[in-house]
């Protein structure tokens, strides 16, 4: 039997974990990444990773973790995979600890836990305020070990363009492009995993890294994969607005005692504590973001008349802050100038995370056999709103599911991709080469970066915290206009070496397609649930909308289908954070 091979696209936490799991099963992996995998966006995660270790004598349990996650996600997530994730979390943390993650410790040398949003028990393991970086590095190191052993071959500085799908509709490899030489090549694989992260760049400025365009997810969406729950985009309540990006100020700042306030009648007003006495500053992100938005935009009570409120840590011991939150304090100091130990930070909500993503089954396989997706680019674990410190968990956990699932899949394959007729690869390669050549010849008058800015501005304006149907409609019209104008781009740079402009123009096309999925998904969903909030439809509507959105690409725009949500384990109940969770269970 010919040696079988897996391709993993994306070298963040999920892709690396899937790689490790596949290699441990004896299958070689080709790992593709836009950047050296150590620079992946997972490194930006700050506050921590959830696991019900229950080492603080609080009687925490994995069931409680599961319930908080489902409740926090407003019951939109399919429940069995979420339960599996929460059950696996403690073991996963122990594994990462053995791999050398410098998790913060208790005085007796065990893993320390801290509080996070939307929960009442300490459940978040952390490494200062750079937990994502530390987890990413540990996985990067393990993969380097396997690379050294000849089991992993890295293609860093390559961009995924599309999947190769044979006439039977089975994924047989990928087309990728070298970002330096601009060579476009077909790669054969028996299974392909996309672990390509979120799509913050669709909003122009977000807390995401610049590689988070969602381009890869959009490319396979345009090849027939469903994109699910696109309209659920998390707005993080506390970010530091910037000219080039909005820099995240971790929820752990509030977990460690940080307070949100602004002035009202000349006095500090702790509006979260007043409105949500049960959870206070640690309400989930959708709730906190809406509250800050309301205070600033609707009530006009932002600090200095601007759209900003205070995130205050000044009452905490500076040494405690350096030890537990050093990473974000450093970022705020470096990029803003003020010292958060002495002066409250000024923050405002920002686009942060995509609960939606590529539609997959519980083995993380898409509707195209052999094509898998995991990490932020899938839609599985967070429903309508993600709880803080659950993203690192879902990234890692989905990798541990997808890796072995791919190995199982290829073991069951009757025909290796190597034996598939070459014409399938040549056909897709030709399509991508033509697309590239067409873009290289574009000599219109539009600038791709300016079009991107326009897209980001309108998306941020209309498809974030508060959504109105008329504005969503107008946004989609604008997106269609931008798609038309995309064809009028002047590429400026016609170089056949290291041409970033032509790659960005491709990504922009893909972003525009995905932006329409997000916008129209939001327009269709006439209810309010988690991060999706419409003042015209302020209530959650389980009867009509307890459904997963599934968008399918057509050249005329996305077509939507809806799928039942598996609520077999926890019966949906009203979600409110002004009272304890237990009080909601009797409703």
């Amino acid at each position: 039997m010919a040696e079988k091979k897996i391709i993993v696209v994306g070298g963040g936490l999920s892709g690396l974990m899937a790689t490790i799991k596949a290699v441990e099963r004896g299958v070689k992996v080709d790992l593709f990444s836009l950047v050296p995998v150590k620079r992946s966006h997972s490194c930006c995660a700050q506050g921590g990773i959830n696991a019900a270790l229950d080492t603080k004598g609080e009687g925490d349990s994995t069931w409680e973790h599961f319930d908080d996650t489902i409740y926090g996600g407003d019951f939109l997530a399919n429940q069995p995979p979420v339960k599996n994730m929460c059950d696996a979390a403690p073991g996963l943390i122990y594994t990462m600890d053995r791999m050398g993650v410098m998790f913060s410790r208790t005085p007796e040398g065990r893993l320390d836990l801290r509080l996070f949003g939307g929960v009442k028990k300490r459940r978040t393991v952390f490494a200062g305020a750079t937990t994502g970086q530390q987890l990413l590095y540990a996985c990067d190191e393990q993969v380097r070990k396997w690379e050294d052993a000849g089991m992993v071959k890295k293609y860093e500085g390559w961009e995924f363009l599309s999947a190769v799908i044979d006439d039977q509709g089975v994924c047989r490899g990928i087309i990728a492009q070298d970002l330096a030489t601009m060579e476009i090549r077909a790669f054969v694989a028996d299974a392909v995993l996309l672990a390509t992260g979120g799509a913050g760049m669709i909003y122009g400025k977000s807390t995401n890294s610049v590689i988070n365009t969602g381009s890869a997810a959009s490319a396979v969406y345009q090849q027939g994969v469903y994109y699910a729950n696109g309209e659920f985009v998390q707005i993080h309540p506390t970010a530091m607005p910037g000219d080039d990006k909005n820099r995240l100020m971790s929820e752990s700042a509030r977990g460690e005692g940080g307070r949100i306030w602004t002035y009202k009648d000349g006095k500090p007003w702790y509006f979260l504590e007043e409105w949500y006495p049960a959870y206070g500053n640690l309400v989930p992100r959708d709730i906190a973001a809406r509250a800050i938005f309301k205070v600033c935009v609707e009530m006009g009570l932002g600090v200095d008349g601007e759209n900003k409120v205070y995130l205050d840590l000044t009452h905490k011991d500076p040494e405690f802050l350096d030890n537990r939150l050093g990473g974000i304090i450093e970022i705020y100091e470096k990029f803003h100038g003020d010292d958060p130990r002495k002066v409250p930070m000024k923050i405002f909500p920002s686009v942060h995370y995509f609960m939606g993503g590529i539609h997959v089954d519980w083995n993380h396989q898409t509707c195209i056999p052999g094509l898998f997706a995991s990490g932020e680019c899938d839609y599985m674990y967070h429903g309508a709103n993600r709880l803080g410190a659950n993203s690192l968990l879902s990234a890692l956990y989905s990798g541990t599911v997808a890796g072995p699932a791919m190995v199982d899949y290829i073991e069951g394959l009757s025909k290796s991709s190597k034996d598939v007729d070459k014409k399938h690869f040549e056909r897709e390669l030709k399509r991508q080469q033509e697309w590239h050549d067409k873009i290289l010849k574009m000599n219109g008058y539009e600038n791709p970066y300016k079009l991107h800015e326009e897209m980001g501005d309108i998306m941020t304006e209309n498809v974030t915290v508060v959504r109105y149907n008329d504005r969503l409609k107008a946004t989609d019209e604008k997106l269609q206009e931008l798609i038309q104008r995309w064809h009028k781009i002047n590429i400026e740079d016609t170089s056949s070496w290291g041409n970033q402009a032509v790659m960005f123009t491709k990504q922009l096309w893909n972003m525009l397609q995905l932006a329409r999925v997000i916008t129209l998904g939001a327009l269709n969903r006439n209810e309010s649930r988690g991060a999706h909030y419409k003042p015209e439809f302020p209530e959650r509507d389980d009867e009509n909308w307890l459904k997963t959105t599934k968008a399918k690409y057509t050249p005329d725009g996305p077509v939507f289908e809806y799928e039942e949500v598996d609520t077999s384990l926890i019966k949906p109940r009203p979600r409110k954070y002004d009272v304890d969770k237990e009080a909601t269970m009797n409703d």
């Binding site: 150590k38 410790r105 490494a127 400026e492 402009a501």
Partner: protein, 250 residues
């Protein structure tokens, strides 16, 4: 410093084999800009200071909050991250941007730092776990040790230390401070230290720890303020003791 325009002078290079050249740009000033956001403005309107159309400047960046290590470049001669180089805090004009000089240029300010990852392989910078399966809680680890080890673990392989090191150059085989620092990190971990001697062996040959000449620019250049010179001194102690042991127990 207040200004109407941000005046940039950029060392450009079309590909690895072509000659470098200088190009100047004038970008309208806005408050709170950094070098990355100025380069982003150039992309939106790729016209140089003489008003001629040009190609957008190529550079690397990713997280924009100084944790990914991508955007290292020389700014007014000093290697640092472009994202945290705030325009309002740079007094000189023009602001001179050059690629790091110790790595091959790919295009303009973009460089190839693969060699740094190869060094990490060479020194076995990982904990050699048996597998990624759940074996229950890991070993106890004192918080005090964890705190300094954590400082070391924040290295983002950005290359500033190598750029500033006088002993890291084309004449020398030195692997530089970043890889050495990782040796100290993994030798401190309760499981990692089981392979301590393998890592020390890897840094005791040519190009290893002995090539350090204590100029100590690395610790000054490090954007994460990692105590690289302490790591190197500590490894000196480890290698001397191990060297003696290796010899006396032969």
């Amino acid at each position: 410093m207040t200004r109407e325009y941000i005046h940039l002078k950029i060392k450009r290079q079309d590909n690895p084999d072509s000659a470098p050249y200088w190009e100047e740009f004038k970008v309208p000033y806005k408050p709170n800009m950094n070098v990355v956001s100025v380069l982003m403005e150039i992309r939106k309107n790729p016209v140089n200071a003489n008003g001629q159309k040009t190609t957008p400047v190529v550079w690397e960046c990713n997280c924009l909050e100084e944790v990914c290590g991508a955007c290292s470049m020389r700014i007014n001669g000093v290697p640092r991250q472009a994202c945290s180089a705030l325009i309002d805090k740079i007094d000189k004009s023009p602001i001179i941007l050059e690629p790091l000089s110790k790595f091959p240029v790919i295009r303009d300010l973009q460089i190839d730092r693969q060699i740094m990852f190869d060094y990490l392989k060479k020194v076995k910078a990982w904990v050699n776990v048996d597998g990624s399966w759940d074996l229950g809680p890991g070993p106890l680890f004192p918080e005090k040790t964890r705190q300094w080890a954590y400082q070391l673990s924040r290295c983002m392989t950005c290359g500033c230390c190598l750029e500033s090191c006088p002993n890291y150059n084309e004449k020398s085989a030195f692997i530089g401070p970043q890889a050495l620092n990782q040796v100290r990190l993994f030798n401190a971990h309760p499981i990692g230290k089981m392979d301590k001697e393998k890592r020390l062996d890897a840094i005791m040959g040519p190009g290893g720890i002995t090539e350090c000449g204590n100029a100590q620019n690395c610790a000054k250049a490090c954007p994460k303020e990692i105590p690289l010179t302490v790591s190197i001194a500590d490894l000196n102690k480890q290698t001397v003791l191990y060297g003696l042991k290796r010899w006396l127990y032969k």
